[in-house]
Protein backbone atom coordinates (compact mmCIF):
# COMPACT_ATOMS: atom_id res chain seq x y z
CA UNK A 1 0.00 0.00 0.00
CA UNK A 2 2.70 2.46 1.04
CA UNK A 3 4.84 1.56 -1.95
CA UNK A 4 1.86 2.25 -4.15
CA UNK A 5 1.44 5.64 -2.53
CA UNK A 6 5.10 6.52 -3.00
CA UNK A 7 4.93 5.45 -6.61
CA UNK A 8 1.95 7.72 -7.03
CA UNK A 9 3.79 10.61 -5.35
CA UNK A 10 6.80 10.15 -7.62
CA UNK A 11 4.51 10.08 -10.63
CA UNK A 12 2.72 13.26 -9.54
CA UNK A 13 6.08 14.98 -9.01
CA UNK A 14 7.10 14.05 -12.54
CA UNK A 15 3.79 15.30 -13.87
CA UNK A 16 4.18 18.55 -12.02
CA UNK A 17 7.70 18.95 -13.38
CA UNK A 18 6.57 18.53 -16.98
CA UNK A 19 3.62 20.89 -16.56
CA UNK A 20 6.01 23.46 -15.07
CA UNK A 21 8.18 23.21 -18.19
CA UNK A 22 5.08 23.94 -20.26
CA UNK A 23 4.43 27.03 -18.17
CA UNK A 24 8.01 28.21 -18.55
CA UNK A 25 7.82 27.81 -22.33
CA UNK A 26 4.66 29.93 -22.38
CA UNK A 27 6.30 32.57 -20.16
CA UNK A 28 9.40 32.72 -22.37
CA UNK A 29 7.27 33.95 -25.25
CA UNK A 30 5.61 36.76 -23.32
CA UNK A 31 5.23 39.00 -26.37
CA UNK A 32 3.28 36.26 -28.08
CA UNK A 33 1.02 35.83 -25.08
CA UNK A 34 0.48 39.58 -24.80
CA UNK A 35 -0.42 40.00 -28.47
CA UNK A 36 -2.84 37.10 -28.38
CA UNK A 37 -4.36 38.64 -25.27
CA UNK A 38 -4.83 41.95 -27.09
CA UNK A 39 -6.44 40.01 -29.95
CA UNK A 40 -8.92 38.30 -27.63
CA UNK A 41 -9.74 41.59 -25.88
CA UNK A 42 -10.41 43.17 -29.28
CA UNK A 43 -12.60 40.23 -30.21
CA UNK A 44 -14.62 40.62 -27.03
CA UNK A 45 -15.11 44.30 -27.85
CA UNK A 46 -15.98 43.55 -31.49
CA UNK A 47 -18.58 40.95 -30.56
CA UNK A 48 -20.28 43.27 -28.08
CA UNK A 49 -20.51 45.93 -30.81
CA UNK A 50 -21.80 43.44 -33.37
CA UNK A 51 -24.44 42.01 -31.03
CA UNK A 52 -25.56 45.50 -30.01
CA UNK A 53 -25.91 46.35 -33.71
CA UNK A 54 -27.91 43.26 -34.61
CA UNK A 55 -30.20 43.66 -31.61
CA UNK A 56 -30.78 47.29 -32.59
CA UNK A 57 -33.77 48.58 -30.66
CA UNK A 58 -34.88 45.14 -29.48
CA UNK A 59 -34.27 44.18 -25.85
CA UNK A 60 -34.51 40.48 -26.36
CA UNK A 61 -34.64 38.08 -29.29
CA UNK A 62 -35.90 34.47 -29.05
CA UNK A 63 -36.02 34.96 -25.28
CA UNK A 64 -32.37 36.02 -25.07
CA UNK A 65 -31.76 39.48 -23.56
CA UNK A 66 -28.96 41.64 -24.99
CA UNK A 67 -27.03 41.57 -21.69
CA UNK A 68 -27.21 37.78 -21.64
CA UNK A 69 -26.01 37.66 -25.21
CA UNK A 70 -23.02 39.93 -24.55
CA UNK A 71 -22.15 37.88 -21.46
CA UNK A 72 -22.31 34.75 -23.58
CA UNK A 73 -20.09 36.23 -26.30
CA UNK A 74 -17.53 37.49 -23.76
CA UNK A 75 -17.28 34.24 -21.82
CA UNK A 76 -17.25 32.20 -25.03
CA UNK A 77 -14.40 34.22 -26.58
CA UNK A 78 -12.21 34.12 -23.50
CA UNK A 79 -12.92 30.44 -22.96
CA UNK A 80 -12.24 29.55 -26.58
CA UNK A 81 -8.98 31.41 -26.32
CA UNK A 82 -8.02 29.54 -23.19
CA UNK A 83 -9.18 26.15 -24.40
CA UNK A 84 -7.63 26.41 -27.84
CA UNK A 85 -4.58 28.52 -26.87
CA UNK A 86 -2.55 25.35 -26.69
CA UNK A 87 -4.29 23.38 -29.38
CA UNK A 88 -1.41 23.28 -31.81
CA UNK A 89 -0.56 19.73 -30.86
CA UNK A 90 3.13 19.25 -30.12
CA UNK A 91 3.15 15.74 -31.51
CA UNK A 92 3.46 16.52 -35.27
CA UNK A 93 6.39 18.86 -34.64
CA UNK A 94 8.25 16.20 -32.71
CA UNK A 95 7.61 13.59 -35.35
CA UNK A 96 8.81 15.90 -38.12
CA UNK A 97 11.99 16.81 -36.28
CA UNK A 98 12.67 13.25 -35.25
CA UNK A 99 12.67 14.24 -31.58
CA UNK A 100 10.02 11.60 -31.01
CA UNK A 101 12.89 9.14 -30.62
CA UNK A 102 14.24 10.76 -27.46
CA UNK A 103 10.73 11.51 -26.24
CA UNK A 104 9.90 7.84 -26.33
CA UNK A 105 12.86 7.03 -24.06
CA UNK A 106 11.66 9.38 -21.32
CA UNK A 107 10.34 8.05 -18.00
CA UNK A 108 6.90 9.54 -18.67
CA UNK A 109 4.85 8.43 -21.68
CA UNK A 110 4.87 10.91 -24.54
CA UNK A 111 1.08 11.08 -24.63
CA UNK A 112 1.10 12.19 -20.99
CA UNK A 113 4.04 14.53 -21.61
CA UNK A 114 2.22 16.36 -24.35
CA UNK A 115 -0.97 16.74 -22.39
CA UNK A 116 0.93 17.96 -19.32
CA UNK A 117 2.94 20.50 -21.32
CA UNK A 118 -0.30 21.96 -22.61
CA UNK A 119 -1.84 22.00 -19.16
CA UNK A 120 1.19 23.99 -18.04
CA UNK A 121 0.73 26.43 -20.90
CA UNK A 122 -2.95 26.87 -20.13
CA UNK A 123 -2.12 27.53 -16.47
CA UNK A 124 -0.05 30.53 -17.58
CA UNK A 125 -2.80 31.75 -19.91
CA UNK A 126 -5.54 31.47 -17.27
CA UNK A 127 -4.73 34.55 -15.10
CA UNK A 128 -4.62 36.93 -18.11
CA UNK A 129 -7.88 35.39 -19.32
CA UNK A 130 -9.50 36.17 -15.98
CA UNK A 131 -8.08 39.70 -16.24
CA UNK A 132 -9.77 40.17 -19.63
CA UNK A 133 -13.04 38.99 -18.08
CA UNK A 134 -12.69 41.46 -15.21
CA UNK A 135 -11.96 44.37 -17.55
CA UNK A 136 -14.87 43.34 -19.76
CA UNK A 137 -17.24 43.15 -16.82
CA UNK A 138 -16.16 46.63 -15.74
CA UNK A 139 -16.74 48.01 -19.24
CA UNK A 140 -19.99 46.19 -20.03
CA UNK A 141 -23.02 45.20 -18.05
CA UNK A 142 -22.31 41.48 -17.88
CA UNK A 143 -24.81 39.18 -16.20
CA UNK A 144 -23.77 37.69 -12.88
CA UNK A 145 -23.65 33.88 -12.66
CA UNK A 146 -27.09 32.37 -12.14
CA UNK A 147 -26.30 30.87 -8.72
CA UNK A 148 -23.49 29.54 -6.53
CA UNK A 149 -23.90 25.93 -7.77
CA UNK A 150 -23.91 27.31 -11.31
CA UNK A 151 -20.43 28.77 -10.72
CA UNK A 152 -19.11 25.44 -9.45
CA UNK A 153 -20.66 23.51 -12.33
CA UNK A 154 -19.34 26.12 -14.74
CA UNK A 155 -15.76 25.68 -13.52
CA UNK A 156 -16.00 21.88 -13.66
CA UNK A 157 -17.50 22.13 -17.12
CA UNK A 158 -14.73 24.44 -18.39
CA UNK A 159 -12.10 21.96 -17.24
CA UNK A 160 -13.96 19.09 -18.91
CA UNK A 161 -14.28 21.11 -22.11
CA UNK A 162 -10.56 21.82 -22.00
CA UNK A 163 -9.87 18.10 -21.55
CA UNK A 164 -12.12 17.12 -24.48
CA UNK A 165 -10.43 19.58 -26.82
CA UNK A 166 -6.98 18.48 -25.71
CA UNK A 167 -7.82 14.81 -26.29
CA UNK A 168 -9.33 15.43 -29.73
CA UNK A 169 -6.33 17.54 -30.76
CA UNK A 170 -3.96 14.83 -29.53
CA UNK A 171 -5.87 12.23 -31.54
CA UNK A 172 -5.66 14.40 -34.65
CA UNK A 173 -1.99 15.00 -33.93
CA UNK A 174 -1.40 11.23 -33.98
CA UNK A 175 -2.33 11.14 -37.67
CA UNK A 176 1.09 12.75 -38.15
CA UNK A 177 2.56 9.28 -37.68
CA UNK A 178 1.08 8.50 -41.09
CA UNK A 179 1.02 11.86 -42.86
CA UNK A 180 3.75 13.91 -41.08
CA UNK A 181 1.98 17.14 -42.04
CA UNK A 182 -1.21 17.90 -40.10
CA UNK A 183 -1.41 21.69 -39.96
CA UNK A 184 -4.17 21.73 -42.60
CA UNK A 185 -6.19 19.23 -40.62
CA UNK A 186 -5.71 21.30 -37.46
CA UNK A 187 -6.97 24.48 -39.12
CA UNK A 188 -10.03 22.63 -40.43
CA UNK A 189 -10.67 21.16 -37.00
CA UNK A 190 -10.37 24.55 -35.34
CA UNK A 191 -12.76 26.21 -37.75
CA UNK A 192 -15.43 23.53 -37.60
CA UNK A 193 -15.17 22.80 -33.89
CA UNK A 194 -15.37 26.47 -32.92
CA UNK A 195 -18.47 26.96 -34.99
CA UNK A 196 -20.21 23.81 -33.71
CA UNK A 197 -19.06 24.53 -30.14
CA UNK A 198 -21.05 27.75 -30.14
CA UNK A 199 -17.88 29.82 -29.80
CA UNK A 200 -19.11 32.26 -32.42
CA UNK A 201 -22.91 32.03 -32.32
CA UNK A 202 -24.75 30.50 -29.39
CA UNK A 203 -26.35 27.25 -30.43
CA UNK A 204 -29.81 28.51 -29.45
CA UNK A 205 -29.77 30.87 -32.45
CA UNK A 206 -28.92 28.12 -34.89
CA UNK A 207 -31.54 26.67 -37.23
CA UNK A 208 -33.23 23.48 -35.94
CA UNK A 209 -31.36 20.94 -38.06
CA UNK A 210 -27.97 22.43 -37.15
CA UNK A 211 -28.92 22.52 -33.47
CA UNK A 212 -29.90 18.85 -33.64
CA UNK A 213 -26.54 18.04 -35.25
CA UNK A 214 -24.58 19.80 -32.53
CA UNK A 215 -26.48 17.83 -29.86
CA UNK A 216 -24.92 14.54 -30.94
CA UNK A 217 -21.41 15.93 -31.49
CA UNK A 218 -18.81 16.48 -28.75
CA UNK A 219 -18.06 20.09 -29.70
CA UNK A 220 -20.80 21.85 -27.78
CA UNK A 221 -19.11 20.60 -24.61
CA UNK A 222 -16.16 22.91 -25.35
CA UNK A 223 -17.96 26.23 -25.07
CA UNK A 224 -21.73 26.09 -25.15
CA UNK A 225 -22.27 23.75 -22.19
CA UNK A 226 -20.11 25.69 -19.69
CA UNK A 227 -21.51 29.09 -20.64
CA UNK A 228 -25.09 27.81 -20.54
CA UNK A 229 -24.42 26.54 -17.01
CA UNK A 230 -23.03 29.93 -15.97
CA UNK A 231 -26.03 31.77 -17.38
CA UNK A 232 -28.47 29.37 -15.70
CA UNK A 233 -29.95 28.21 -18.98
CA UNK A 234 -29.10 24.69 -17.89
CA UNK A 235 -30.32 23.93 -14.37
CA UNK A 236 -31.29 20.96 -12.19
CA UNK A 237 -31.18 17.61 -13.95
CA UNK A 238 -30.43 19.29 -17.26
CA UNK A 239 -27.20 20.67 -15.80
CA UNK A 240 -26.20 17.36 -14.25
CA UNK A 241 -26.98 15.60 -17.53
CA UNK A 242 -24.87 18.07 -19.53
CA UNK A 243 -21.84 17.61 -17.25
CA UNK A 244 -22.31 13.82 -17.33
CA UNK A 245 -22.31 13.95 -21.15
CA UNK A 246 -19.04 15.91 -21.01
CA UNK A 247 -17.52 13.27 -18.73
CA UNK A 248 -18.63 10.56 -21.14
CA UNK A 249 -16.88 12.34 -23.99
CA UNK A 250 -13.69 12.60 -21.93
CA UNK A 251 -13.82 8.85 -21.28
CA UNK A 252 -14.59 8.03 -24.92
CA UNK A 253 -11.70 10.12 -26.23
CA UNK A 254 -9.35 8.79 -23.56
CA UNK A 255 -10.17 5.26 -24.67
CA UNK A 256 -9.83 6.17 -28.34
CA UNK A 257 -6.56 7.95 -27.61
CA UNK A 258 -5.08 4.94 -25.86
CA UNK A 259 -6.22 2.63 -28.62
CA UNK A 260 -4.81 4.88 -31.34
CA UNK A 261 -1.57 5.33 -29.41
CA UNK A 262 -0.93 1.59 -29.36
CA UNK A 263 -1.16 1.58 -33.15
CA UNK A 264 0.97 4.72 -33.51
CA UNK A 265 3.85 3.30 -31.59
CA UNK A 266 4.28 0.69 -34.31
CA UNK A 267 4.48 3.41 -36.91
CA UNK A 268 7.48 5.29 -35.61
CA UNK A 269 9.84 5.70 -38.51
CA UNK A 270 12.96 7.68 -37.95
CA UNK A 271 14.50 9.74 -40.68
CA UNK A 272 17.77 8.23 -41.67
CA UNK A 273 17.30 5.18 -39.53
Amino acid sequence: MTTQLTAMRVRLLKYHGIAAIGSRVALTYRASLLMRLVAVALQVYLLSVVWRAVYGARDSVSGVALDTMITYATLASVQTWLVTASSSSLLPQRIREGRIATDLCGPVGIFEQIILLQVGQAAVAAPPAVLVLLVASAAERLSAPASAPAVILYLISVVLGFAINLLIVSLLGMTAFWTVEVSGLMVIYQGISQFLAGALVPLWFMPGWLRATTEVLPFQALVHTPVSLYLGRLTGWGAVHAVAVQMCWVLIFLALGNLAWKRCIHRVVMYGG
Binding site: V38, A53, I188, G191
Partner: protein, 265 residues
Protein backbone atom coordinates in the same frame (compact mmCIF):
# COMPACT_ATOMS: atom_id res chain seq x y z
CA UNK B 1 11.87 44.82 -66.33
CA UNK B 2 14.69 42.44 -65.62
CA UNK B 3 13.54 42.25 -61.98
CA UNK B 4 10.02 41.30 -63.03
CA UNK B 5 11.30 38.62 -65.41
CA UNK B 6 13.52 37.06 -62.75
CA UNK B 7 10.74 37.32 -60.18
CA UNK B 8 8.42 35.35 -62.46
CA UNK B 9 11.03 32.64 -62.96
CA UNK B 10 11.66 32.38 -59.21
CA UNK B 11 7.94 32.34 -58.41
CA UNK B 12 7.39 29.54 -60.94
CA UNK B 13 10.17 27.53 -59.34
CA UNK B 14 8.69 28.09 -55.88
CA UNK B 15 5.27 27.03 -57.16
CA UNK B 16 6.70 23.85 -58.65
CA UNK B 17 8.35 22.94 -55.37
CA UNK B 18 5.11 23.52 -53.46
CA UNK B 19 2.90 21.34 -55.64
CA UNK B 20 5.23 18.43 -54.91
CA UNK B 21 3.51 18.16 -51.55
CA UNK B 22 0.03 16.73 -51.65
CA UNK B 23 -0.72 18.00 -48.15
CA UNK B 24 -0.62 21.52 -49.56
CA UNK B 25 -3.93 20.89 -51.24
CA UNK B 26 -5.32 20.09 -47.83
CA UNK B 27 -3.95 23.44 -46.69
CA UNK B 28 -5.93 25.10 -49.43
CA UNK B 29 -9.08 23.33 -48.30
CA UNK B 30 -8.24 24.37 -44.75
CA UNK B 31 -8.14 28.01 -45.80
CA UNK B 32 -11.59 27.71 -47.34
CA UNK B 33 -13.09 25.96 -44.31
CA UNK B 34 -11.57 28.45 -41.88
CA UNK B 35 -12.89 31.47 -43.77
CA UNK B 36 -16.26 29.79 -44.27
CA UNK B 37 -16.76 29.46 -40.51
CA UNK B 38 -16.27 33.22 -40.28
CA UNK B 39 -19.00 33.58 -42.84
CA UNK B 40 -21.21 30.97 -41.14
CA UNK B 41 -21.24 33.21 -38.06
CA UNK B 42 -22.56 36.13 -40.07
CA UNK B 43 -25.02 33.91 -41.93
CA UNK B 44 -26.55 32.42 -38.76
CA UNK B 45 -26.89 35.86 -37.15
CA UNK B 46 -28.46 37.43 -40.21
CA UNK B 47 -30.80 34.47 -40.79
CA UNK B 48 -32.13 35.13 -37.29
CA UNK B 49 -31.97 38.93 -37.12
CA UNK B 50 -32.47 40.04 -40.74
CA UNK B 51 -29.93 42.85 -40.90
CA UNK B 52 -26.90 44.40 -39.26
CA UNK B 53 -26.54 48.16 -39.25
CA UNK B 54 -29.28 48.26 -41.92
CA UNK B 55 -27.29 45.97 -44.24
CA UNK B 56 -29.09 42.90 -45.57
CA UNK B 57 -27.61 39.37 -45.72
CA UNK B 58 -26.66 39.82 -49.38
CA UNK B 59 -24.96 43.13 -48.76
CA UNK B 60 -22.94 41.89 -45.78
CA UNK B 61 -22.01 38.78 -47.80
CA UNK B 62 -20.84 41.05 -50.62
CA UNK B 63 -18.69 43.02 -48.16
CA UNK B 64 -17.35 39.77 -46.70
CA UNK B 65 -16.56 38.39 -50.16
CA UNK B 66 -14.70 41.57 -51.11
CA UNK B 67 -12.70 41.46 -47.92
CA UNK B 68 -11.84 37.79 -48.37
CA UNK B 69 -10.73 38.29 -51.99
CA UNK B 70 -8.55 41.24 -50.99
CA UNK B 71 -7.13 39.13 -48.17
CA UNK B 72 -6.28 36.27 -50.53
CA UNK B 73 -4.77 38.71 -53.00
CA UNK B 74 -2.41 40.15 -50.40
CA UNK B 75 -1.45 36.83 -48.87
CA UNK B 76 -0.79 35.05 -52.18
CA UNK B 77 2.33 37.04 -53.08
CA UNK B 78 3.30 38.25 -49.59
CA UNK B 79 2.87 35.19 -47.39
CA UNK B 80 6.63 34.77 -47.04
CA UNK B 81 6.64 37.90 -44.84
CA UNK B 82 5.24 35.75 -42.02
CA UNK B 83 8.58 33.93 -41.85
CA UNK B 84 10.64 37.11 -41.68
CA UNK B 85 11.39 36.80 -37.95
CA UNK B 86 12.95 33.38 -38.41
CA UNK B 87 14.71 34.37 -41.64
CA UNK B 88 16.43 37.27 -39.87
CA UNK B 89 17.18 35.31 -36.71
CA UNK B 90 18.77 32.45 -38.60
CA UNK B 91 20.87 34.74 -40.76
CA UNK B 92 19.19 33.62 -43.96
CA UNK B 93 18.66 37.26 -44.96
CA UNK B 94 22.39 37.68 -45.51
CA UNK B 95 22.16 35.30 -48.45
CA UNK B 96 19.52 37.49 -50.06
CA UNK B 97 21.53 40.65 -49.46
CA UNK B 98 24.55 39.52 -51.45
CA UNK B 99 22.55 38.66 -54.55
CA UNK B 100 21.97 41.21 -57.33
CA UNK B 101 18.17 41.38 -57.06
CA UNK B 102 15.75 43.43 -54.99
CA UNK B 103 15.61 42.01 -51.47
CA UNK B 104 11.82 42.05 -51.20
CA UNK B 105 11.41 40.28 -54.55
CA UNK B 106 13.87 37.57 -53.49
CA UNK B 107 12.20 37.16 -50.14
CA UNK B 108 8.68 36.83 -51.56
CA UNK B 109 9.62 34.42 -54.33
CA UNK B 110 11.74 32.17 -52.12
CA UNK B 111 8.66 30.22 -51.09
CA UNK B 112 4.98 30.29 -51.92
CA UNK B 113 2.03 29.23 -49.82
CA UNK B 114 -0.84 27.61 -51.67
CA UNK B 115 -3.33 28.12 -48.82
CA UNK B 116 -3.88 31.69 -49.99
CA UNK B 117 -5.42 30.43 -53.22
CA UNK B 118 -8.08 28.81 -51.05
CA UNK B 119 -8.90 32.25 -49.64
CA UNK B 120 -9.23 33.69 -53.13
CA UNK B 121 -11.44 30.80 -54.27
CA UNK B 122 -13.67 31.16 -51.19
CA UNK B 123 -13.84 34.91 -51.69
CA UNK B 124 -14.82 34.60 -55.35
CA UNK B 125 -17.58 32.08 -54.55
CA UNK B 126 -19.06 34.22 -51.77
CA UNK B 127 -18.69 37.38 -53.84
CA UNK B 128 -20.46 35.94 -56.87
CA UNK B 129 -23.24 34.40 -54.80
CA UNK B 130 -23.71 37.71 -52.98
CA UNK B 131 -23.73 39.68 -56.24
CA UNK B 132 -26.78 37.71 -57.30
CA UNK B 133 -28.62 38.45 -54.03
CA UNK B 134 -27.56 42.03 -53.30
CA UNK B 135 -28.98 44.90 -55.29
CA UNK B 136 -26.11 45.95 -57.53
CA UNK B 137 -26.42 47.53 -60.95
CA UNK B 138 -23.58 45.93 -62.86
CA UNK B 139 -21.97 47.80 -65.72
CA UNK B 140 -18.54 47.52 -67.34
CA UNK B 141 -17.57 50.50 -65.19
CA UNK B 142 -18.62 48.90 -61.90
CA UNK B 143 -16.90 45.60 -62.73
CA UNK B 144 -13.73 47.54 -63.50
CA UNK B 145 -14.09 49.46 -60.25
CA UNK B 146 -14.55 46.19 -58.32
CA UNK B 147 -11.31 44.81 -59.79
CA UNK B 148 -9.45 48.01 -58.90
CA UNK B 149 -10.98 48.03 -55.41
CA UNK B 150 -9.89 44.43 -54.72
CA UNK B 151 -6.35 45.22 -55.82
CA UNK B 152 -6.40 48.43 -53.78
CA UNK B 153 -7.75 46.59 -50.74
CA UNK B 154 -4.99 44.03 -51.01
CA UNK B 155 -2.41 46.83 -51.26
CA UNK B 156 -3.75 48.49 -48.10
CA UNK B 157 -3.27 45.26 -46.15
CA UNK B 158 0.13 44.70 -47.74
CA UNK B 159 1.16 48.22 -46.74
CA UNK B 160 0.25 47.75 -43.08
CA UNK B 161 1.87 44.32 -42.93
CA UNK B 162 5.00 45.47 -44.74
CA UNK B 163 5.41 48.42 -42.39
CA UNK B 164 5.03 46.15 -39.35
CA UNK B 165 7.40 43.61 -40.88
CA UNK B 166 9.98 46.35 -41.53
CA UNK B 167 10.21 46.87 -37.77
CA UNK B 168 11.64 43.35 -37.53
CA UNK B 169 15.01 44.74 -38.72
CA UNK B 170 15.17 46.67 -35.46
CA UNK B 171 13.23 44.69 -32.88
CA UNK B 172 13.65 41.16 -34.35
CA UNK B 173 10.23 39.88 -33.36
CA UNK B 174 7.03 41.19 -34.93
CA UNK B 175 5.26 37.97 -35.88
CA UNK B 176 2.70 38.22 -33.09
CA UNK B 177 2.06 41.89 -33.81
CA UNK B 178 1.44 41.10 -37.47
CA UNK B 179 -0.84 38.18 -36.64
CA UNK B 180 -2.82 40.47 -34.38
CA UNK B 181 -3.16 43.10 -37.11
CA UNK B 182 -4.26 40.42 -39.57
CA UNK B 183 -6.83 39.28 -37.03
CA UNK B 184 -8.20 42.82 -36.73
CA UNK B 185 -8.50 43.14 -40.52
CA UNK B 186 -10.26 39.79 -40.78
CA UNK B 187 -12.74 40.27 -37.96
CA UNK B 188 -13.49 44.00 -37.85
CA UNK B 189 -13.39 44.30 -41.65
CA UNK B 190 -16.24 41.87 -42.19
CA UNK B 191 -18.97 44.21 -40.96
CA UNK B 192 -20.33 47.54 -42.14
CA UNK B 193 -18.14 49.98 -40.24
CA UNK B 194 -21.22 52.01 -39.37
CA UNK B 195 -21.77 49.78 -36.33
CA UNK B 196 -18.55 50.98 -34.66
CA UNK B 197 -19.87 54.53 -34.18
CA UNK B 198 -18.19 57.76 -35.27
CA UNK B 199 -14.96 57.39 -33.29
CA UNK B 200 -14.58 53.73 -34.25
CA UNK B 201 -15.04 54.62 -37.91
CA UNK B 202 -12.51 57.43 -37.61
CA UNK B 203 -9.94 55.05 -36.09
CA UNK B 204 -10.56 52.37 -38.70
CA UNK B 205 -10.33 54.87 -41.57
CA UNK B 206 -7.50 57.24 -40.73
CA UNK B 207 -5.42 55.49 -38.06
CA UNK B 208 -5.67 51.93 -39.39
CA UNK B 209 -6.83 52.23 -43.03
CA UNK B 210 -9.09 49.19 -42.71
CA UNK B 211 -12.12 50.98 -44.21
CA UNK B 212 -10.36 51.21 -47.57
CA UNK B 213 -9.98 47.43 -47.86
CA UNK B 214 -13.62 46.59 -48.48
CA UNK B 215 -16.14 48.78 -46.65
CA UNK B 216 -15.68 52.04 -48.56
CA UNK B 217 -15.58 50.49 -52.06
CA UNK B 218 -18.51 48.23 -51.10
CA UNK B 219 -20.63 51.28 -50.21
CA UNK B 220 -19.86 52.65 -53.69
CA UNK B 221 -20.96 49.43 -55.44
CA UNK B 222 -24.00 48.95 -53.21
CA UNK B 223 -25.09 52.58 -53.59
CA UNK B 224 -24.77 53.24 -49.86
CA UNK B 225 -22.30 56.14 -49.84
CA UNK B 226 -24.84 58.45 -48.17
CA UNK B 227 -24.43 56.54 -44.88
CA UNK B 228 -20.71 57.39 -44.72
CA UNK B 229 -19.20 59.88 -42.30
CA UNK B 230 -16.63 60.81 -44.94
CA UNK B 231 -17.31 62.37 -48.35
CA UNK B 232 -18.40 59.93 -51.04
CA UNK B 233 -15.36 60.99 -53.09
CA UNK B 234 -13.10 59.43 -50.42
CA UNK B 235 -14.85 56.10 -50.96
CA UNK B 236 -14.40 56.33 -54.74
CA UNK B 237 -10.69 57.01 -54.20
CA UNK B 238 -10.17 53.77 -52.19
CA UNK B 239 -8.03 52.01 -54.85
CA UNK B 240 -5.70 54.99 -55.04
CA UNK B 241 -5.35 55.01 -51.27
CA UNK B 242 -4.11 51.42 -51.55
CA UNK B 243 -1.39 52.44 -54.01
CA UNK B 244 -0.37 55.43 -51.87
CA UNK B 245 -0.21 53.34 -48.68
CA UNK B 246 1.90 50.73 -50.42
CA UNK B 247 4.40 53.30 -51.70
CA UNK B 248 4.77 54.81 -48.24
CA UNK B 249 5.16 51.38 -46.65
CA UNK B 250 7.80 50.38 -49.20
CA UNK B 251 9.80 53.54 -48.48
CA UNK B 252 9.53 52.76 -44.77
CA UNK B 253 10.70 49.18 -45.43
CA UNK B 254 13.77 50.46 -47.31
CA UNK B 255 14.63 52.92 -44.54
CA UNK B 256 14.30 50.28 -41.83
CA UNK B 257 16.43 47.86 -43.82
CA UNK B 258 19.41 50.17 -43.18
CA UNK B 259 19.14 49.19 -39.51
CA UNK B 260 19.56 45.51 -40.28
CA UNK B 261 22.31 43.86 -38.30
CA UNK B 262 23.10 40.32 -39.24
CA UNK B 263 22.44 37.66 -36.63
CA UNK B 264 25.33 37.11 -34.26
CA UNK B 265 27.13 40.39 -34.99
Amino acid sequence: MRTIRIAMVLARAALRSEIQYRSNFLMMAAGVVYQCTGFAFIWVILARFGSIGGWSVGEVAFLFGMRLCAHGLWVAPFHRLTDLDAIIREGELDRFLVRPLNLLVQLLTSKLWLGSFGDIAGGVVILSAASAVADIRWSPGSVFYLALALAGGALVEVAVQLAAAALTFRILSTKELREMIDDVFNTFGSYPLKIYGTSGQFLLTFVLPLAFVAYLPATVLLGRTEELEVAAAVAYMAPLVGVACFCLAYLFWCRQLRHYQSAGH
